[in-house]
Subunit: 359 residues, 2 copies
């Protein structure tokens, strides 16, 4: 715990994509400035940030100057190189902390951690070569899914096994990257809990949203989730345990499968999360402001929902729908200012406010 950040303090954000962009806006709303560190040119977050550093995560001089210029460091993606974190961590607090990053950067470390908390995860086995692949398939069976241990996102770095015969091809697809074979979970719904924890250990969760993925990419989140309220409560309790175990500071996305035997943790993301975008139009304090409040040492918003929302991602050519969406009542557009529309690229999202919560 430490003193709350004062007005005008500078929040450093690693990564200049849409999450950094929306974090920047939330930081400004609370009177902070943001400094974005991003290797790519013209990052979306740069349009709404006070300062941008364009440099690679290997550029020690740039990292040092960035670390010395900011009061606290956060990130919009979990795959920040360890060497950069080592350097930055000596210059300013990194929130959420290194332990959350260490765990979430490696799918096996993450599953070991979650299992260690007594939470249920899919059956899993490490795969490092063809022999361990065959052993993993023998143990886990098929259908199953092979994922790289590190650097996967939006369905990238994954291969599905319909039968055990797909094992060799799936391993070949990983191009020798250390991987994990995960057993298939027969779920009735995917939900996620967006949870936050403050520097004083206060925890606040938003109501779980129900997610629909397509090709590994989130398409839609509906709040409230159409699941039993006891399961929603289970999700919130489970998220709190994860955050407390990590002495976490900030917002975390916890993805869960709903199964006949209860909730199975799919994965955790130590950052604001696509499935929490609905909070922008459903809550007084949204997930972006919640994250900024947490890392700034401020009290958290209570997470209460004033409106039901359906969030839909606008991916690639979905941008052609913007004029139609703009004309619809109770429809909030959130566009990312990306210059090129590409297939599979998240270009924006739309929150449809569907009414007041049933009381």
């Amino acid at each position: 715990m430490s003193d709350p950040l004062a007005q005008g303090a500078i929040i450093g954000i690693l990564g200049g994509g849409q999450l950094g962009r929306m974090l920047s806006v939330a930081a400004a709303r609370l009177g902070f400035r943001t400094h974005i560190f991003e290797p790519g040119a013209n990052p979306p977050a740069g349009h709404v940030a006070d300062t941008i550093t364009t440099a690679s995560y290997e550029d020690e001089a740039a990292l040092r100057a960035f670390g010395e210029a900011v009061d606290v460091i956060t990130y919009e993606f979990e795959n920040v190189p360890t060497s950069a974190l080592d350097l930055l961590g000596s210059l300013a607090p990194i929130r959420p902390g290194r332990e959350a990053l260490r765990i979430s950067q490696d799918r096996i470390t993450e599953k070991d951690f979650l299992s260690g908390l007594g939470l249920t995860v899919a059956p899993y086995a490490a795969v490092d070569d063809l022999a361990s692949m065959q052993a993993a398939v023998a143990q886990i069976g098929a259908p199953s899914i092979l994922k790289t241990r590190r650097f996967g996102y939006d369905g990238k770095g994954q291969a599905r096994l319909k039968t055990a015969d797909d094992a060799a091809q799936a391993w070949a697809d990983m191009a020798d990257a250390p991987s994990v074979l995960e057993g298939f979970i027969d779920f009735s719904a995917e939900i996620s809990v967006i949870a936050a924890r403050s520097t004083t250990g206060e925890v606040a969760c938003y109501d779980p949203g129900e997610n629909v993925h397509d090709g590994g990419i989130l398409r839609k989140t509906t709040v409230p989730a159409n699941v039993k309220s006891s399961l929603r409560m289970d999700g919130v309790i489970l998220a709190g345990r994860i955050l407390n175990a990590l002495d976490y500071v900030g917002v975390m996305g916890v993805e869960l499968f709903v199964t006949p035997n209860g909730l199975v943790v799919n994965e955790i993301a130590p950052r604001v999360h696509n499935s929490g975008h609905w909070t922008q139009n459903g809550c007084t304090v949204d997930q972006f402001e919640q994250h900024i409040r947490a890392i700034a040492g401020w009290p958290l918003g209570n997470g209460q929902r004033h409106s039901d929302v359906v969030m839909e991602n606008l991916i690639g050519d979905d941008m052609d729908r913007v004029p139609t969406l703009a004309a619809q009542a109770e429809t909030a557009l959130h566009l990312y200012g990306k210059s090129d529309v590409k297939a599979g690229r998240k270009m924006g999202h739309v929150n449809r406010v569907t009414g007041a919560p049933a009381s």
Copy 2:
């Protein structure tokens, strides 16, 4: 009417204060970039803008470069020098247009315009010297209020007359600035209508808010206003007439007095308005996005309110209350990132969400 602005288009904003800041954020949300033109150093809008030009409104080269760099020009204050508008108007569309600026820049022109529409305004008379001051007092009486015709805001450039004996002193206070004497209105409430009109002539209004001023500065806006629904409707209709008469494009604030004889128009502001800040937490599309939608040639949001809100300005030392406010549920802070706290300076505002609208 013209084509809607495309993604990535650049919106030029004259003025870099808190209104420009919140317009910038709204513009980014719709995928636009902003370019702020502001004479002062370190403007609040600069923290969330893509580009800032720091130059005076007399700097023709800077104005020209700005006008050539942007796709449309808007402003956060109505007292933009005419010479700057002349130059800029030849380079990019100015929205709202010149006519709205011409009228609102001069209190007498404004009252003539409003009277010409058949709307009720306070009795008024021009004052240019001591003789016309005495004549005005003889006509209007006292109590009354003398205001400079131009460049007044937040109660500045005003002198109150309790009796006719105060006339000479009030005129002396104006330092020879052309002025207007306004008769005192015995009102039961001050309300304002935040209205918007699109490039296609579509008009949308937010529910009127009830305002409390202190020392000429807005302190609080409560929505819904505690006035008869027929009066609320009158306010909305009246605002629509003003916007249509001006072929207006953008958001306008219309300040009204509630009197036993109906509504009296106090003043109009051809821009987003402090009394519309509640929309940030009360509506899916807030007044800032509404203004950006209008000037970008997009369809308007419908102005519907999902929550009742009380907005309170944080002025000067009110900033000491921020830690307390941050800990209160359903309280949204909007801080402006101004580096120096000064007495009477608007530093931020807070929106308290007080519940769902009575249906």
